[in-house]
């Protein structure tokens, strides 16, 4: 399916979301409360059929935190990007997509570890790389006295 058709289809699946045809992929920006329901529809719809989660990227936009999901259909060979943002930097919470794609398990633990985004209903949300004494290094306001590159 062409990206323009895919964008039109995505707009019907997620009417409340903002659907943009980006440079490479169709990008759907939605609120965290819609995320799980829309992702479920995109996965089960036979025309989008996004059965593979390629990656989950935690983002720090300055005032907001967010996640970016790259989803692929192994049947139709297209990709769709889902984006969501939360404004609460102290206690950011986003629904976990582990129930839809088990691959989300490690990706979300990584985003929790490095950006402090909590994923609701994640089966095993613990820090992955670092221990609990660390802050969240991928946040833009993280103070790093050791990194000689940043100094």
């Amino acid at each position: 399916m062409e990206n323009s058709q895919l964008a039109a289809l995505a707009a019907t699946i997620a009417p409340d979301a903002q659907v943009v045809q980006g440079k490479q992929f169709v990008e759907i920006t939605l609120s965290p409360s819609d995320l799980f329901a829309v992702a479920e529809k995109l996965k089960s719809n036979s025309e989008t059929a996004l059965d593979m989660l390629v990656s989950v990227t935690g983002m720090d936009y300055g005032t907001e935190l967010g996640t970016v999901y790259h989803l692929r259909s192994t049947i139709h060979k297209h990709m769709i990007v889902l984006k969501t943002r939360v404004t609460d930097r102290e206690n950011p919470e986003i629904d976990s997509l582990c129930a839809l794609w088990p691959a989300a398990d490690f990706h979300e633990r990584e985003a929790y570890d490095l950006l402090g985004i909590r994923f609701r209903n994640h089966p095993d949300l613990r820090r992955l790389f670092l221990d609990s004494t660390w802050g969240y290094p991928l946040r833009k306001d993280y103070k790093d006295d050791v990194n000689i590159l940043a100094r």
Binding site: Q24, M52, T57, D60, H70, D105, F106, L114
Partner: protein
């Protein structure tokens, strides 16, 4: 007389042991916390992060041409392919089309990288399962590829030969001759690998029906590369989204449906033949042209997001760059195949024997720096 102390019966009690971080079969600092009942694995929990260097964070404070020196150190056996992924993303963002010469040379070197990675896999996999001879044979032949790299790229493993816009320098005059010598030699030597290990009954018994992954599981967990293709999941980026010169060569995507450890091994063995086919189609027709496009001294990507995936020796490596228009990226994310492959280890090894865990772990061919990044 003292009362006799009864030793606990291991079959009835669950106990937990640490495998690693210094266990020889984990090939790096990976710690597996294994719950056992007798010899049967009940649960495996990977603990990672011992060599987490924060490459994604470091990328945010350096310029684009410098990133390739960090990606070298992620999956160090696919160093060239990692660099290619970053270069392709930057070139895509800038709208630069590299010359055919660069595309062909990149493809040849990527395939040589794949061959030497699979050679090391074969060497260490045999060693994990008790066949030490493999280790010497594998490393002996891998040395020839590393010599080719050394001559042309300057480095043996950490090559840093790609740069945004092309290559660091032109190929060495001996490159074609030595590559052809190697292919000729390796076509004779590769059947020896099969005679030594593949047909061995003990080897096959230890791998067949061990750590089986179905096609549906492979897709759901995002398993790509030889691990996904052994389960019948057609996921070769070189076929589905050709980059560099992969659209002008013919090769087969190796697929098996069994999904067990033995077929993950088989995929890699067959891929070495395919890689040699690809190199042979290209090595005599490297087009003339410049080896690098003229780039501005300071590379600034236009504001936006760019995603590119390539097929490394282990699977799909995705590079996601978010740029705000500055000379440093705003955010870089590497979707590394090993990180994804580690996650379902518990699923694969539940119910297997502890010796099978070594075989499963070996058949995933994990590179720990790529997991930790």
């Amino acid at each position: 007389m003292e009362e006799e102390v009864k030793a606990p019966v291991p079959e009835q009690e669950e106990y937990v042991i640490n495998m690693g971080p210094q266990h020889p079969s984990t090939h790096g600092v990976l710690r597996l916390v294994v719950s056992l009942r007798g010899e049967i694995v009940r649960n495996v929990e990977p603990h990672i992060g011992y060599i987490h260097r924060g490459i994604e964070k470091m990328c945010e404070s350096i310029a684009y041409p410098q990133i390739i020196h960090l990606t070298d150190r992620m999956d160090y056996l696919s160093a060239h392919i990692n660099n290619e992924a970053v270069c392709l993303t930057v070139e895509k963002a800038l709208g630069i089309e590299v010359s055919d010469r660069v595309k062909v040379i990149r493809t040849i070197l990527s395939e040589l990288t794949r061959i030497q990675s699979h050679q090391l896999f074969w060497a260490t996999f045999g060693m994990d399962l008790g066949g030490l001879t493999c280790f010497f044979y594998g490393l002996r032949d891998r040395e020839m590829v590393l010599d080719i790299f050394e001559e042309t790229c300057g480095g043996r493993m950490i090559v840093s030969y790609n740069c945004p816009g092309g290559l660091m320098n032109d190929i060495h005059p001996n490159f074609q001759k030595r590559t052809k010598e190697f292919i000729k030699y390796f076509r004779e030597t590769l059947p020896e690998y099969d005679r030594l290990l593949t047909g061995n009954v003990i080897f096959q018994e230890r791998l067949k029906n061990i750590g089986t992954v179905t096609r549906e599981q492979a897709i759901a967990w995002g398993l790509t590369g030889p691990v996904g293709r052994a389960s019948g999941f057609s996921c070769d980026v070189r076929k589905h989204n050709p980059y560099s010169a992969y659209d002008r060569v013919t090769f087969n995507e190796i697929l098996y449906n069994e999904g067990d450890s033995f077929h993950r091994y088989k995929v890699r063995m067959d891929e070495m033949w395919e890689s040699m086919n690809i190199i042979e189609q290209l090595i005599d027709n490297i087009p003339e042209g410049s080896y690098a496009e003229k780039m501005k001294p300071v590379i600034k990507l236009p504001e936006g997001e760019y995603f590119q995936s390539v097929e490394t020796a282990r699977g799909e490596l995705g590079v996601y760059i978010v740029s705000d228009g500055n000379k440093n990226p705003y955010r870089v994310k590497f979707r590394s195949p090993n990180f994804v492959h580690l996650a379902p280890l518990n699923l694969m090894s539940k119910g297997a024997k502890i010796a099978d865990l070594v075989a499963i772990n070996g058949s995933l061919d994990l590179i720990i720096p790529d997991i930790d990044r």
